[in-house]
Structures are given as structure tokens and as C-alpha cells.
Amino acid sequence: MKRLAPIRGEWIDRSRSVAFELEGRIHTGFAGDTITSALCGADVRVLGRSFKYHRPRGVLSLANHDVNALLQWNDRPNVRADATPLADEMRLFAVNTDGGLDQDRRRFLDRLSPFLPVGFYYKAFHDRRWFPRWEAMFRALTGLGRVSVTTERRRTPKRYDFCDVLVIGAGPSGLSAALAAADAGARVVIVDENARAGGSGTYALVGDDDPVGARTRDRVVRCAEHPRVSLRTGTVAAGCYADHWVPLVERDRITKMRARAVVIATGAFEQPAVFRGNDVPGVMLASAAQRLLHRYAVAPMTRAVVLAANRDGYRAALDLLAHGIDVAAVADLNESPADDAACRELASRGIPVRLGHGVYEARAGHDVLRDAVLAPLTPDGALNAARTERIGCDGLVVSVGWAPAANLLYQAGARMHYDELLAQFVPGALPPGVFACGRVNGVYAFEAKLADGERAGLEAAGALGLRAAGAAPLVPAEVQRPSHPYPIFSHPKGKNFVDFDEDLQLQDFANAVQEGFDNIELLKRYTTVGMGPSQGKHSNMNAVRILARLTGQPIEAVGTTTARPFFHPVPLAHLAGRGFTVERETPLHSRHEALGAVLMLAGHWRRPEYYAVPGSRRLGAIREEVLAVRNSVGLIDVGTLGKIEVSGPDAAAFLERVYTGRFANMSPGSTRYCLMVDEAGTIIDDGVVARLGDQRFYFTTTTSGSATVYRELTRLNTMWRMQCGIVNVTGHRAAVNLAGPKARDVLSRLTRSDMSEAVFPYLAARELEVAGIPARVLRIGFVGELGYEIHVAHDRASSLWDALMEAGSELGIRPFGVEAQRLLRLEKGHLIVGQDTDGLTNPFEAGCGWAVKMDKPFFVGQRSLAILAKKPSRQALVGIELVPGEAVDRVAECHLVIEAGEIAGRVTSVAFSPTLGRHIGLAMLAPALAEPGRQIAIRVTDGALVTAKVVRAPFYDADGRRQKLAEAA
């Protein structure tokens, strides 16, 4: 291998040398090289070691499928050398070696291959005791690159994009399709995974002056200059989803493209022939050799043998000659030449053409190709080992057929069928808005590809209602078979590889079928064919042909495996994208931060868990906040509560139907607890309803329930067609709870309204001004003290907070957080929906039967509750006290209650009450355990049992004097 003199259309920039390192050796390539082409230009022929047997491997396809040439580039594992652009100062190492490419200590495995047939580990290493050891050993012996867990995150934003027609593949047919659609008026995006557009028109040439090259370049230029065409190279269409969503993967990002129509012009993968030694470095596909020649100006060998079964093989032979490479012989699997003219040309230049011959064996010397051994085919298609001919060569160029790159077509829902004439699967019925052209459509001749592309482009535009001036061209039928139906040859010594990813040999398939894995999907899973990094791009078609031969079925009947996204591996970083983490803040967020709040996540909300106090730890600060509320006054931001308005003539009736309680009899200016259940009678939310007027209600929901409740109420109102409007003002209104024996004192300083018990009693609701701010004030007692929940517009919240804090400063007002509130309500025995209840809890079990008015005509869940009311309870929510002296600090929420060795309940809330000086909690228990005074055992995390006693809740101010009769208190 060596670098040639400049070639027309080459992709490299010879003015810029690029130095890089492979396993300690310095090499030099050019800008525009891939790693593989640069190594080939430096005459490096062994690029990697195989997955299982650690055999040396070189160039195979140079088309992004050479998965035996995977490299570690710093922290990037599994870099594909054949497709990755060369970069300055790359330091590269082959993956999957022990000691490097040349001295891989695991290459001995190749000699053990007769003992390691496919599936050997299923049969040999299934002992349960030893399996972990075997697993570890095999994971060490095989594998790919190293994942770095300390890599700095790369920015890989995802984006959306839109177009009329997306053309996938910028080869001759794709370019023609894009131009035709754009000329018809469509906005076209055309993508290609290669660094440059042109596809096979940039390498499937005979010499530099081939007119195919010039005509392809002309179309590339026209696409690049067309005002309605966006040509994007280095872009992989990784999948095809419903509604024509196609993820386009670029180096640093994914674009989710939504196209109105998709033209799939993805071409075909050249397929290897299966013969002994077909993996020896130096054996390569003809398209790989031509890519090296025309794109990177690298001579892939000095003396070649060509194995052909189609016109492409002959053209490749002529191409090698045109670039000064000695062609020792051409072996044609066919009895008559695939290309008469080319055959004559070769003969005239003294190149022997062996018709009806194949390669019996490729032999290596010092890890690279040394000889090709040809043999004539027998009438049954085997090779005659008795009449071999050995030819010295350092390159064996194989062109025996193609497999359509139809993965995206399958994903789009196309039906494919096997065309015997072409020996290829081709699209049959295509889904609406999806079109195919070029080789994936079974069209191979250059002129025919251009015509087919134009047809597809016009049809795509036509599907969008765009009409071109001219008629769609006729696409000439293919006159030659591009693929041999069975280029697969057995050898008594094996090493005739079908799948290069997984080191699967021909005999492995025979063994699998013999063992009953004779269906293509079963065969795939047993042999792992097509499950390696190339996902079967150069093995699946041969596997199908082998299975058909072994089972005596037609290929159509064998079918293909399922082609799932992604078409190529996609880095997880790309899938992660920018990473949007939605956060929600109340308007008081800056106030909390200024006060030293330690924030916690509650759904999307960031809420103060507690306010840090110098000299106090977390628990100390929380307990101080609790005592401030009990003894003086505290202020908490409850803006996260759901806040919904219902108004209109049917507003009261509507609430009666969606909540369990009764609201029609509420007088304006009052509030009432509300409980919501679902159709099964399970508690799903609770809150407080305030009646602001005859037809106006304002109510709160739980923090997590606001969106769900609003959506459900809207759904129900749409169904019931009641005369009321529902407005969700959760984010547009702020709310604080001013609570404590001195709450009234604070509030009175900020309003002219009469706050006396007589005028503003417990459970009243008033619309008044607080600090000059229009506010809705609800007198409720969630934390068990005199309390006012004050609701104002979002933009007034900061002013309200500042005013309250200032007014309360003399009275020792203190902000308190979520943890203190949870403790305060626990002392009162108030439940939290979702914490003290679960997805099966009904109101009777939760002790909320008082909030269910079964005598109403109807409410959601009423029928279920009527049934449940007649049944014995399965569980009951009760208060518990932990017996002092034991490991009470280790009891936590969700710890199980154990009775007679069985689970008999769980702790739903537990904490130390600074007010009471003991540990209290709520537990959902089996009814037999729920009697006050009963002792229960709670199993903590380390398995120890802690004793608790069932008690009556509330634990504090049981008759509610402090919240109801605050003046007297």
C-alpha cells in the first residue's frame, strides 16, 4: 500500500499533513483522510484484532462497517477507523487486544477455535456456581473499548428540523431525486453519511477520467447551489419512524427531521464472498479498494487477484490497472463473463480471466495476504480442491454481490420481496410518502440510477401536490445480475467467515441448523449473526442464503431479520441531548435564598426544606421552626399548592359531583375540606374549597395534583356540559401560610379589615387587602395553630412576604420550610395524600369517612365507596408512638410492620415531635392491629424490630382549640 500521485476528485488536502500515533508509532496522513486511509497510505495493513479469535484484520469495506478496525481514541471507545476523519495528534490504540496489535497475547485463541464453536458457552458454562467466574473471564477475553466514567460532558444538543422532501443518500440516484423534487418546488434536504456527496459516483469508476465521476460531480454542484436544496454530509439517517420522523446524526448532535416525504436512496452494501481466509488482511471488497484509490489516492496493493461475479468486479480490475496496480488474474464465479467488453479488454492486456472459478483459500504470511488459491467450480457450485492454482498477491479484491441498505425502508413499513433475477431483496409496496431509488431499489446501471432518482424525486414532489413540467423518465430494466446467488464455499479447515464482527464461520451455521435453530430469527440469536457492531451489514444476506440452502427453502420464504433503529450505533451522549430538567420556582424563591433556605425538589418545584441557622444542624433548625409556629408565628410559602377557580351557575353542583363532600350549602365567605376519589373510590387528592360568592369558588389541590386535577375536571366538565368555567391559576397566584398564636397580630398590622374572631372566624374566607395588596385569605389550620392562608397575584408575592416579615419581626416571626410543616401537621394527625395514602387507599381506611357524604345524589367514586362501606376494611390509618429507649431514630417512612412473621402494615409518617418530646407517626395497619394501646413491631432497615404503640390521633390539641379559638388561647 502506498500513497499515489494526486487523483482527480480526491478527498485529501495534500497541503496539510496530519501526524498521529497508533500504539506508539508515529504516522502521517493528510487532512481529509480517515484513520484507515491514512494508515493504508502509511502501509499499515493490520488494523485490528477480531472479537473472538483475535485474528488480524485489515480493510474490508471502508464504508463505516469495518468493525474489526475499532480504536480507542483517548476517552472515546470504539472509534471506527474507516469512517472517522483523521485529526491532529490523535493517539490511538486497537481495542480488544492484550499487548497490542502485533503482540496480542490472546491470539492463541485462534488455535483453539475448533473447540469453541458457536454456542459453546451455552453448553459448557452453565453451572450456577461457576458461571460468574466464566462470565468474568469471557468479558475480559472479548469486548470492545473502554468507557471512561470521568469524561467531561460534551455538548450534544438535539434539534428539530422540517422539510418537504428528505433524501437519504447523496449518491447518483439520491442527487437526481433531490434535484427533481427541488425543481418541482419542494424544500429538499439531502443527507449522506460520508464526508462528501457523490456516493458510488466518487469511487465506482474506471480511472480518473470516467464520465461517471464528472456527471456525479456536476450533480453535487447543482445540489449545493440549488436554492431549495440543503445538502448535508457527515450525517447519518439513523432510523425511520412514524410520520416521517428521521433522526439525523451528525458528529456533535442529532436533528429530529420531520419530512413530508422521504426518498430512500441508501444504496447497497457490497457483500463478501465466503471462503477460507476471506478475513486475511489484504482481502477486501472491490468498493473498498476503489474508495482507497479515488477518495484517498492510496494504492490498496501492488499485485491483485480479483474475484468477480458481476460487472463491478471487472470494472474494479480495470480500475486497478488504470492506477498502475498489477492484476495477476480475475476469477469469475460465472461460466460466462459478467461483462463481455471488460473481459475482452482484460484479455487484450494479458490478464488471465478464469471463468467458473472461485477462491479456494487466501493464505497469509506474517499476518497479511501472500497467496490466493483459485479453483474451478464443480457443477454443484462447490470448488474443486483437486485443481487449485496458487497465485502470489498482496491484495484480493472481491466483488460478488450486494445487499440493499434497506434498513430504513423496513422501519418505514415497506414490504420487501426477493427478486431472483437480481438475487436481491427489493421494495414491493411502499408506505405513503416513502419512495426508494437506486441500488436499494434494485437499479444498478449508472444511467438507470439517474433516471430512477429523478422518478422518485418527482413522485415525492407529486405526493405533496407539486407538479414538474416534464414527465417522469422511464427507468431501464437491469440487464445483468449484480449479485451471485451463493458466493459461499466450504473448506475442510474452516476459517471461512460469514460474520466478521462475531467470528462466525460457515460450519457454525450448519451446526445451528442441525440443532434446530432453523428459523432466521432463531438462527440470529443462537449464532449472534448480525448482532455485532455492524449489525449484519455484510453478514445478514449471506446468512439468509446459507439458511435457505441448508433448509432447502427459497430465500423469500426464509425472509430477513427485523431491522430496528438505530441503523448505525448512536452515541448515548447524542441521545441524552442537552438535557432539559424542568424546574419550577415560586415568586418567593429569591426571598428563600436570601434567608438561607436549603432547597429540596418536590416534583418540578424547588422548595425550602428548612432555613439554615448558624450553629444549628438540620434537625435543630427544623425543630426551632416548629416551636416558632407553636409558640409565636411562622410563615411558609405554600404557593406550590394547586389553585383552581370554578365559577358559573353550576359551580356548586359541579364541585358536588367531583368531590366527596357537600359544597352547595356553603355560605359565601366560608371554606371546607375537600377530598377527591377516583371511580374506584381511591383517594387521589385533597384540599380546601373556599366559596367567594354565590357562583364563585376557589380551591386548592395538593402540590403534585394540580395539573392532574385540573385536567380531570376539565374532562368531566366537557363530558357533563355543566354551566361553569374552570380556571387553573396555580402558577399565577402565590400563597403563604401565616401560622401561630401571634398570626392575627401580624396580619392586623397590615390590613384595615376586622380580623376579630367574630368577623373572621375559623374556616372563613375573605377577599381583602393585605399590605395594600388584593388578597384572598382563608382561615385554616393545617398545622394546628391559628392560621391564615393568604393568596395573591404572582407579581405581588414578594411585596406581601416582605410586609409580613417586617410586620412580624417584633413578634419573632420565622420562616419555616416543608419539613417543619410536615412535622406540625403530623402532630395534628393530618394526612398527606400520596404519603399516608397509596394507590389503593379509600377514605374509610384513611379515617376520612367524615368527609364523604354518601347521601348526595352523585359524586365520582360514590358507587364504589358504597360497596366498600359494606365490606370489612383491609387496613386502617392510625397514630403510633415509638416506645422510648429503643432505636427509635432508625424508624423511617415505609418501614414495615411485622406481626407473626408476616407483613401487617407500614409506617407512612414518623418524626420526633419537639412539641411533645417523643417520636410519633402514622401507620397503615391491618385492622386487627389498629386498636389504641396495641403494641406493634416495626422492622427497620438493618432488620431490627422496634416497638411502637397504637394511639389516637391527633397527638396535639386534640379538640382543635388553638386553631379554632385562638383569641381565648
Binding site: 455538548r155 444538543p157 422540517f162 397575584a793 407579581d795 414578594s798
Partner: protein
């Protein structure tokens, strides 16, 4: 009594970047940022201070008509208020029977007052939105990274009298987007729940900065939108 001021949803987000503030109807708003984006190229501004009136209900369209507001013909469209686009005024039809009116103050406040607690079939909707404006030739590149709507297609249907709007999700947040053109430059007006405002603003501003833009204060935005100086 404590003197009352209003606080916009992005007030705290602007503190570090703001160079000059001014008051508008009791709210401090950023007139100028220390480093600003170029509105013709890419800039993100905050217009949460504008006045809004929201209403819904089967009688909402008819009620607006009685107030002299010509409503958009169908859902998901908007219409400029009679004073023209220079007043920033628009009426957006968010659903068959839900509307948002926004302007510099006069009409929206008047509507709020007139509607009061509503009628039997018209219900007031408190709108304290975080209102952003994303302008510039590269604005759509930013939106393509956060939203799956083809705003370029919507923008093509824009006219000075009105056009389509989108109720969609942007970076995980429900938003209302009105695509417009100002001096032939794409301009997207974006509204979201104020409690999501800081997050959405931060997210958009990150992308705007990556794309070479920046925040813009109301002074520069006004100069861009009204180069003749006929509006403040």
C-alpha cells in the same frame, strides 16, 4: 401600610446582567443589559410587564365584541389590536372560547375592570405570564432546539393584522408562541406560566448565547422595533 411594588417573574434572573432599570406600572423592568444581543441577529427580551386580560367561556367572544375587540376568526390564531402592532397589542384566541388580550396597558386593564368577576358564561382568567420575546434572523435556530413545531412554516403565514399561534411544549414547559415579523426579522412572542419563567428564560438564554446572541433590554428592543422613535 407598606408601599406596593410588582415583581416580574424574571426579576431575579436579570439582577446580575442588568445595567439599567426603570419602573413601569409599579414593576422594575430592565432597560438595558450589560452585554446585549443584537435584535436583528439574535436577542432575548422580557416583556412580562405588559398588561394582560384573560377570559374564557361560551360567551367570551361575544363579550369581547361588546368591548370593541374584534376577535380572531378561529382557534390558534391571533389578531392585532386596532392601534396596530406598534402598541404591542394583540388578542389571541387560545381555544374556541378562550382569549388572551395583551397590550401596554390601556385596553387590557380596561377589560379586566369591565369583566370583574365575570358573567354567567364569561369567566376571568388571571394572566401573570412570563412573557418573552425572541428576535433575530437566528431566532428559529434557537426554537428548533427546544420545540417540535415548525415555526418557519407558521411565520410564513404571518401578516400585520394577525396570523397563527402555537400552544405547545418548549423545553418541557407549556407555552404559547406567536410568530411575527418585525422589520422583516423573525420575532417570536412566548408566554409561559410565571413559575416556569426562570427556567425557560435560563434555558433559552443558554442556547441564545451559544448561537451568538444575548439578552436585550427594553430600550434597545424599542429602538429596534420603532426606529423612527415614535414609540417609547
Amino acid at each position: 401600610m407598606t408601599s406596593v411594588t410588582r415583581t416580574g417573574p424574571l426579576h431575579q434572573a436579570h439582577v446580575a446582567s442588568a445595567a439599567a432599570w426603570r419602573d413601569h406600572a409599579g414593576m422594575r423592568i430592565v432597560d438595558e443589559h450589560k452585554r446585549e444581543g443584537e435584535p436583528a441577529m439574535l436577542a432575548l427580551g422580557d416583556r412580562s410587564h405588559l398588561a394582560r386580560a384573560g377570559l374564557k367561556g361560551p360567551g367570551a367572544a361575544a363579550w369581547l365584541a361588546t368591548q370593541g375587540i374584534e376577535v380572531p376568526a378561529g382557534p390558534n390564531t391571533w389578531r392585532a389590536l386596532p392601534a396596530g402592532r406598534d402598541s404591542n397589542g394583540l388578542v389571541a384566541r387560545l381555544a374556541t372560547s378562550e382569549f388572551l388580550v395583551e397590550d401596554d396597558g390601556v385596553r387590557a386593564f380596561a377589560l379586566q375592570t369591565a369583566l370583574g368577576h365575570g358573567t354567567t358564561d364569561v369567566h376571568p382568567v388571571l394572566r401573570q405570564d412570563c412573557a418573552l420575546v425572541l428576535t433575530g434572523q437566528r431566532a428559529n435556530d434557537v426554537l428548533l432546539q427546544v420545540c417540535s413545531v415548525d415555526f418557519a412554516a407558521l411565520l410564513a403565514q404571518d401578516s400585520p393584522e394577525g396570523g397563527p399561534l402555537a400552544l405547545t411544549s418548549m423545553a418541557g414547559v407549556s407555552v404559547l408562541v406567536v410568530p411575527q415579523r418585525a422589520r422583516d426579522v423573525p420575532l417570536f412572542r412566548i408566554w409561559c406560566d410565571p413559575t416556569f419563567g426562570a427556567y425557560l428564560h435560563r434555558t433559552l438564554l443558554d442556547i441564545v448565547a451559544e448561537e451568538g446572541g444575548g439578552p436585550v433590554g427594553l430600550a434597545r428592543l424599542a429602538r429596534f422595533l420603532h426606529p423612527e422613535g415614535d414609540r417609547p
